[in-house]
Amino acid sequence: MEMMPGEFLLGKLDDVARWAQSSSVWPLTMGLACCAIEMMSVQAPQYDIARLGSEVFRASPRQADLMIVSGRVAQKMGPIIKRLYDQMADPKWVISMGACASSGGVFDNYAIIQGVDTIVPVDVYVPGCPPTPDGLLYAITLIQQQIRQGGRGGILARA
């Protein structure tokens, strides 16, 4: 989108849609373990996820665009997360927050699924155990960058 002389903004409809979608990515309220407490701190006024337009944590997957897997995924929780991901409306994104969600972290044992990407397609991995709130904020800006620069999303991307 560029500014024309008469203060008109011209741009492709897809870009406008992507700009709108990227500036209000609504996460799903799903806190698993320690990373969920850091996710709460990101929601609190000091780190304030509202600046990125993601402060509305929707409880139902029907109204959420972003699933933040915040914590270790136990064997019993695996199918639940798969079902929640399937029940989210398209287009949807996944942030794998913390070492446990990304790769099993310090728990290399029978009880933890070694990386949530064996269950749901992950868009951004956030390192850290737990990641500092800044790490999560940067991850959300990466998601926004993905949307604006032609990843999933937009209007005409039928596939």
């Binding site: 019993k76 029978y110 990466l142 620069q149």
Partner: protein, 212 residues
């Protein structure tokens, strides 16, 4: 071994509970599985009103193999101040359960909080409790095979124990002298092409397409 590569040096004590450290943490009562229930009833009558915790330990080489440990605390069942409580009596009842007859009477009727504790012992150790209102797995999924906290249960689960750990994790098992491969080789190659002089400062401008 998840993080430390060196194997564990063998322990010395076959039955650690027989060696008493110089610690006065509780009165120890060791009973045979047959008289566990009446000991607990007697202790409860004597005033040990709260069942703090029910735990289990698997001593693989020792006979009887399992130890089910009941921790009791004598608290007044009425409103009481700190002074009245003072240092309450704490009792630890150890019941040795043989490996082949893993069954104990349940105490869920004496103390309702034993319900989940006993279910967890059944789930992770395979020790059944007769008379338990609803004995089924509590931590693991319903259809899980095996009892994870037993010493002969592999740490990473039977399925994954068969598959060796990925090579890059165990530095020690890559024999010395093997030429680098995959990404490492590519990175080294790129380094050579770039040459030492122009150390590229990663351009972090927003316009650049981020590596997602």
């Amino acid at each position: 071994m998840p993080s430390s590569q060196s194997p564990s040096i063998a322990g010395t004590a076959l039955d650690p509970t027989s060696v008493r450290p110089p610690v006065a943490d509780a009165e120890i009562v060791r009973v045979a599985p047959a008289e566990v229930r009446e000991t607990l009833v007697r202790l409860k009558a004597e005033g040990c009103s709260m069942l703090l915790d029910v735990g289990a330990v698997d001593y693989l080489e020792r006979e009887p193999r399992f130890d089910v440990v009941y921790h009791l605390l004598a608290l007044p069942a009425v409103a009481a101040s700190v002074a009245q409580i003072g240092t309450p009596r704490r009792v630890r009842v150890l019941a040795g359960v043989p490996g082949n007859a893993t069954a104990l009477p349940s105490v869920a009727d004496l103390w309702p909080n034993a319900d989940w504790a006993e279910r967890e012992i059944f789930d992770l150790f395979g020790i059944t409790f007769e008379g338990h209102p609803d004995l089924r797995r509590i931590q693991m999924p319903e259809d899980w095979q095996g009892y994870p906290l037993r010493k002969d249960y592999p740490l990473r689960g039977p399925a994954r124990e068969a598959t060796p750990r990925p090579a890059f994790a165990l530095k020690s098992n890559v024999p010395a002298g093997t030429p680098p491969a995959g990404r490492v080789a590519a990175a080294l190659q790129k380094q050579r092409e770039r040459g030492p002089a122009d150390d590229v400062v990663r351009d972090t401008g927003t316009g650049e397409k981020s590596s997602t």
